[in-house]
């Protein structure tokens, strides 16, 4: 991810292709990895993120399923307890709610409630797919719910390289992981280095742009928005320190807080709702950690309004924060003027 809008070229990798590379990397090296979920043999359920994996690795390792989110998620969990590393795919996170018992009650607690003796090495991949007048049940971003649950790692890649490398790290991790990718990022391009094997336990926020005046934080698509906003604010003389959270549970924002201690200003952009959300959590941790004297202004949350997603395009345009609206919010909130800047 770069501050300028990336342009495609022959050697670059798109976010969607990067996910597919992650699957292929895993399945060619790890016979215990398999994928299970609805639409995996279909050209249109998961965009270009799993194209022809069934042909490359066989339909015994890429299982398309009945319309049964709970059973398929539970089945992945059960196979994980028996030595496999399954990835269960929910092409829309909205439908994954039918499997919440398996994710929250079973997978997330299995290790703790059974005395630390075994944990399901299962990756649950959920796709955020919104906009385009898809309406209230085809649009949600529910990462904050799941980040609330101890025992479940929640991963939100913002760049093609992370989409691939954090998928690999999620699957090779010994804990249940909810990996959330975003269809609005699928066409983003990056000249990516070859796949890297990361230990998910050590992964956390990364600084994507260095700045002095404002700490700007996001995850997944919101991190990309943050970079675009930073670019615009730079033109107005405001220098942003941009952080991509990458892993939202367990959440480690020490580096972000250190950034706020330097800038004195914090804006968290989140694609979820405001109440009890990720933006509130990051802001609260910063507020708890820093003395009042460290703050030059109160923190700002930019989130969805607390309303279900509308269908009409006219309302959608108001519902989702975009670069323009975020720039307006930031300048209004911080009252940033040339002489305020360090």
């Amino acid at each position: 991810m770069r501050g300028d809008m990336p342009s495609a070229d022959a050697a670059s990798l798109s976010y969607g292709q990067a996910i597919r590379e992650g699957f292929a990397w895993l399945m060619s090296r790890h016979p215990e990895v398999f994928a299970i979920g609805q639409g995996l043999w279909s050209p249109w359920y998961v965009g270009n993120s799993m194209t022809d994996l069934d042909k490359e690795f066989g339909r015994h390792r890429v299982l398309d399923t009945p319309v049964s989110e709970a059973a398929c998620t539970g089945a992945a969990l059960g196979a994980a307890l028996c030595g496999y590393r399954p990835i269960v795919i929910h092409p829309r996170i909205d439908f994954m709610l039918l499997a919440v018992d398996q994710i929250v009650n079973q997978a997330a607690k299995w290790r703790h409630m059974l005395g630390g003796q075994s944990g399901p090495r299962v990756t649950i991949r959920a796709i955020v797919n919104r906009g385009g007048e898809q309406g209230a049940q085809h649009s949600q971003a529910l990462h904050s719910w799941f980040a609330h649950v101890p025992g479940l790692r929640v991963v939100m890649p913002a760049t093609p390289a992370d989409a691939r490398d954090l998928l690999i790290a999620s699957v090779l991790c010994d804990d249940p992981v909810l990996y959330i990718d975003d269809r609005w990022l699928y066409e983003d391009q990056e000249i990516a280095a070859p796949a890297r094997v990361l230990d998910l336990r050590n992964e956390g926020p990364l600084r994507r742009r260095e700045g002095r005046d404002l700490t700007l934080v996001g995850a997944s698509y919101s991190a990309r928005l943050a970079l675009q906003v930073a670019e615009r604010l730079a033109a107005q003389g405001l220098s942003c320190d941009v952080w991509d959270l990458r892993v939202v549970n367990p959440l480690n924002v020490n580096d972000v807080i250190a950034s706020v201690s330097r800038t004195g200003r914090l804006c968290v952009i989140d694609g979820g709702w405001r109440t009890c959300g990720l933006a509130g959590e990051v802001s609260a941790r910063a507020a708890e950690s820093l003395p009042p004297s460290a703050w030059r202004a109160a923190p700002l949350r930019v989130t969805l309004p607390d309303a279900p997603a509308p269908t009409s395009a006219a309302l959608e345009a108001r519902y989702y924060p975009d670069v323009e609206s975020i720039v307006d919010r930031v300048t209004a909130s911080f009252g940033v003027k040339e002489h305020d800047l360090k």
């Binding site: 398999f34 015994h60 299982l63 399923t65 009945p66 049964s68 709970a70 059973a71 398929c72 998620t73 539970g74 089945a75 992945a76 969990l77 059960g78 196979a79 994980a80 307890l81 028996c82 030595g83 496999y84 399954p86 018992d101 398996q102 009650n105 079973q106 299995w110 290790r111 703790h112 409630m113 059974l114 005395g115 630390g116 003796q117 075994s118 944990g119 101890p150 025992g151 790692r153 991790c173 010994d174 804990d175 336990r201 367990p250």
Partner: protein, 350 residues
Amino acid sequence: MSERHISELGELVDPGAPAYLRPCDISGYPPAELMGFLRTMLLIRAAEEQVAEWVEQGRAHCPCHLSIGQEAVATGVAATLRASDRLFGNHRSHAHYLAARGELYALLAEVLGRAHGCSQGMGGSMHLRSAACGFFGSVPIVAGTIPIAVGAGLAAKMDGGTDIAVAFFGDGACEEGVLHESLNLASIYGLPVLFVCENNQYSSHLDIALRQPSDRMSRYADAHRVRAQIVDGNDVTAIARIAGSLVDAARSNREPVFLEAITYRWRGHVGPNEDLDVGVRRSMQHLAAWKRRDPVRRLEEALRAAGLATPPQLAQLHDELRAQVHEAAARALSAPWPAESTLLDYVYAR
């Protein structure tokens, strides 16, 4: 009783029916195996009587769901399994764990929340595990482990061997949607899973007649083209025989099978009392009638009639198992508590 309810199980749910009061048919079983059945059932009963006493004494505090009266189901099914099979239980799983040869002391320590428990004291009565026995885990969310067992069956099929997965659940779990998803998935994928439905005719408090239009749970298996058999759940040899044929089919054909065992719990849904709940039929008379269908008595009478055990020998066996439980219980009571660090240590893999 709902006017929509019909009974398809007939005399199987009539505790006075003479056919189901008779001693077990022990023909074809070696004496050692029969004595093993009896030992397992007596161990379960003695262990649960101990747990019941602890609850009454205020020594055990976690919710304890007892299977006294239902011991034959776990015992008969477990006799057909091997240690490499993958078993999953529910809220009422002391019997499943013990029948699978889970360690008695570790069960009792777990019920007390002690560090020597089978789940290191982190789970209590409702979260049991014994990896060595293939008992992968039990949880109290109704039907929660059914799809997990299906996944264990998927893994067994991918492994290419002849191991199977087993899910123990009750009639209440048949009212959860995920049972249907799981039966469908296991059926269409051809997975070696034994679904064991212990139909004790009650959910936590409601009679089956107030909850479902029929009392026959195997109709759900029929709907998904899963081979099913109904068995008298208080007859351990009948259970072992029928479960054995189903398990053979699951192993050799790689297909799901469904065993419905008709039984009755003597205690309440949770805790030691002989609760009557809110049933339309459950009364002291009804409970007393079902106690005459005692699975332990029916096996013992068969053993006596065949000259395989005398009353003094049986009394001695009861005493021996009670002593075993008392010894383990005394040790469990002095076992250490979990270290405070375990509160956070077990959240994620180390």
